[in-house]
């Protein structure tokens, strides 16, 4: 459609933070309960599982936003002509990494949703500590999960930085620099939560 690009791009940017980014943090925090033992994880996972209107929440807050963000995201990735070899500036590298981590994250999410939520939905697996324990017992899978989680948290944190620019919150070079440090802290914190949870399963 004519002149819908502005709307779609702003929606893409918004969805990356609300709800997808919020969901990401919630998801990693719930996983982090594994650090306190299998029962603790199972209780937290069961609580999420028993939320009212769960399917509706999953569709509206998770699936539709991610599908939209991912489809437009892949398009955005492929129309860019990356040029870090010629212009090796810090922000250009992050621009490139934002696109690479977008693709890695997509592969990771599809795989992860397939072997967890879809299997649980089809009744072939049960939602509990043992499911993740089995998956992560395989070292290849474990490292795939580590890369997937770091890629997602990087993409989220760096995305938060560009979200602030896209919405005109950080305008001046100084505010954008402060946002770089702030989003770096977000990256470190969220990555710590995510990775620590993974190690709790092995």
């Amino acid at each position: 459609m004519e002149n819908r690009e502005f709307f779609y791009r702003r929606l893409h940017s918004l969805l990356g933070v609300v709800p997808i980014g919020i969901f990401l943090i919630q998801h990693l925090v719930v996983n982090h309960f594994a650090v306190y033992g299998p029962e603790s994880f199972n209780r937290a996972a069961q609580f999420m599982h028993d939320l009212p209107f769960r399917l509706m929440l999953e569709i509206l807050i998770i699936f539709l936003p991610i599908i939209f963000h991912a489809v437009l995201g892949v398009y955005i990735v492929f129309v860019a002509k990356n040029n870090v070899s010629r212009y090796g500036f810090f922000r250009n590298w992050l621009f490139y990494l934002q696109r690479i981590t977008g693709i890695i994250t997509l592969v990771f999410i599809v795989w992860h949703v397939w072997e967890t939520r879809v299997q649980i939905g089809m009744g072939t697996e049960e939602l509990n500590y043992g499911l993740m324990e089995n998956i992560l017992a395989n070292p290849v899978m474990f490292w795939f999960y580590v890369i997937g989680v770091v890629s997602t948290t990087f993409h989220f944190a760096n995305g938060l930085w560009s979200f602030l620019v896209s919405w005109g919150v950080t305008v001046t070079p100084r505010s954008q620099k402060i946002a770089t440090y702030a989003t770096l802290l977000v990256f470190l914190a969220v990555t710590y939560i995510g990775i620590r949870a993974l190690f709790a399963f092995v």
Partner: protein, 253 residues
């Protein structure tokens, strides 16, 4: 004593449709030479390094003081102005090529029409013509004038478009230069009266949403224009404008 020679490797193209090729030239060195004077040397006697007589190299230049933007080309991999690029500061051999973002007319001459069309699209001017004298405009604070002067230095050279990963043949992104001009004219006390028209032009396809924040533009602009600050400020302005358009507003001029 043997005369000192420069080696110049030029990416050439005989016509807009023909294939590009590289040709090497040996140029007699003079002190304080710039790329334009080196190219002029080759024109005196257009013979390539193999000793063959060839068509003289074509390029564009006007001001020779880095204000018109016509002589922009890629010199040793970096897009910049040939007139302000001194040979002494470059590694040899010197490679010159046309900017890849624009259609080549011939050799180093490119067609920057898309940039001028963009300026028309965003109405990068202050409309004052009419049927009667509308009198003097409001005054501008001196500090603001000094700030706006920096934005007004843009010479439409195209270097920022050349460096932008999102300006290419798969996208119709307008590029940083025209965006920053909207900021300039929207800050002008009279230009401000047509603010929403310019913002709406930026909300069309190929407008401001094509920016992905690689921020190369602000690094390469020879005039040091704060392009990314302009873009972020316009992100804010276009967002507000889109809310006004959607919900309606008493201040939507």
């Amino acid at each position: 004593m043997a005369e000192e020679k420069l080696t110049l490797i030029v990416t050439r193209q005989d016509s807009p449709e023909s294939p590009e090729y590289e040709e090497t030239f040996k140029v007699s060195y003079r002190k304080n030479m710039n790329i334009i004077s080196a190219l002029m040397e080759t024109q005196k006697n257009p013979v390539n390094a193999k000793g063959e007589s060839v068509a003289p190299i074509q390029w564009e230049s006007n001001c020779l003081e880095e204000v018109c933007g016509a002589c922009s080309m890629v010199i040793n991999g970096e897009p910049r102005q040939a007139c302000s690029t001194l040979v002494d500061k470059l590694e040899q051999p010197i490679r010159v090529a046309p900017m890849a973002t624009f259609p080549v007319v011939r050799d180093l001459v490119v067609d920057r029409s898309r940039m001028f069309d963009s300026l028309k699209k965003v109405k990068a001017w202050v409309p004052i013509d009419g049927t009667h004298d509308i009198g003097p405009g409001p005054r501008m604070p001196e500090k603001k004038r000094q700030w706006a002067y920096e934005l007004s230095k843009c010479m439409t050279c195209g270097v920022c478009l050349e460096a932008c990963p999102n300006v290419n043949s798969s996208t119709d992104f307008i590029g940083p230069a025209a965006l920053s001009q909207v900021r300039l004219f929207n800050s002008h006390p009279t230009g401000e009266m047509n603010k929403s028209e310019r913002l709406e032009a930026l909300m069309d396809d190929g407008g401001i949403s094509g920016c992905g924040n690689s921020q190369n533009c602000v690094q390469v602009c020879p005039k040091g224009i704060p392009l990314t600050t302009s873009i972020a400020a316009l992100n804010r302005d276009t967002n507000i404008q889109s809310f006004k358009n959607f919900f309606g507003s008493d201040h939507a001029y």
